[in-house]
Symmetry: C2
Subunit: 196 residues, 2 copies
């Protein structure tokens, strides 16, 4: 699964923007921020500050035969809020997203899954960033010990998928990957395209 | 509607991160990028590059009595891709999100709506940014002329809501606000919580 996603990377549409100059203004192991001088689609001069992500965002909806899923709680520093989410992580661009998903699921929940179904390709914040997310449903689960990264302080809850979807409907889950992946999982089950 | 969103801004959870130093490394009218020296939740030293957004992201699902919605097509510069999305725009933090939604809908589609229902509060990219999005369903519509901003080059399509949801299910719509808002609108109609 080197480049499994149709919607990652540029397409062949005509680009109505021209880039005159690009300057890297910040870089760390996760992002690169560039300032650009551009000609916008109407032909006028403009600027664009753009954030390039060095990792693919990965989300996993683990789903057991009884209809339960797992949510991870953590404090999200940029929001200054606590957030309940599906298990998530980053995958270096070019590496296998599925391998990263397996690793993240096991680290955060201790679960190993035998059936993996890709369900989602999404651009998280396309006015400023190129951040791309992929989500999977993980089934046929075996429980082992979790091994969260030492910089993380996580809580774990096993809840019915329906309850997780209710948390989305009540805006108690607000993380975009979790919102989209849980609603889509629910719709795929309703259609019979995912079977517990 | 000054601060209508429960999930915008910090909550009162204990913050396991300490911030030792903050430096602004880039700023433009839309974002501010800061580099931070931190103590992470495990007590070790670390860095954090964070992107603060100066606008709330707004999405609108217009919905007429025949079950049609409107999609906007545009080239997204950060992705280098063409993207079909629900009507979207930005609302300066602290201004009325609903007023901004009315303005964006009319600019991009020419539609005015008498019934507005907030359906979504979402954090788009919470590992790096504080970007917050709110989405509305707009009903009881009147069609006038559209007036897109001169920097935009937009296409407009009127499609059945079901067809827009199919585009989400097939990963042809990949913008996170559009994915979440269309799936949620569909679920609210199924539950009878939204009526055409």
């Amino acid at each position: 699964m080197h480049t499994p996603f149709r919607t990652q990377g540029p397409d062949h549409s005509e680009n109505p923007w021209q880039t005159l100059r690009t300057e890297t203004v910040y870089e760390n192991p996760w992002i690169e921020v560039t300032h650009r001088e551009v000609i916008n689609p109407s032909g006028g001069p403009g600027i664009y500050g753009m954030v390039r992500f060095k990792n693919l965002a990965i989300g996993i909806v683990p789903l057991d035969a009884e209809g339960y899923t797992w949510l991870v709680g953590q404090y999200r520093y940029p929001l200054q809020r606590y957030s309940w989410e599906i298990p998530e992580g980053g995958s270096p661009i070019g590496q296998s997203a599925l391998d990263s998903a397996r690793r993240e699921l096991e680290e955060e929940t201790g679960l190993q899954a035998r059936i993996w179904t890709p369900i989602l390709e999404m651009h998280l914040s396309n006015s400023v960033t190129d951040e791309f997310a992929a989500a999977f449903v993980a089934q046929d689960l075996t429980q082992g010990p979790s091994r969260p990264e030492p910089t993380e302080r996580l809580q774990l809850r096993r809840v019915r998928l329906e309850e997780a979807v209710e948390m989305v409907m009540r805006c108690e889950i607000t993380d975009s990957i979790s919102v989209a992946a849980l609603l889509k999982t629910s719709e795929l089950i309703r259609r019979g395209e995912l079977v517990l």
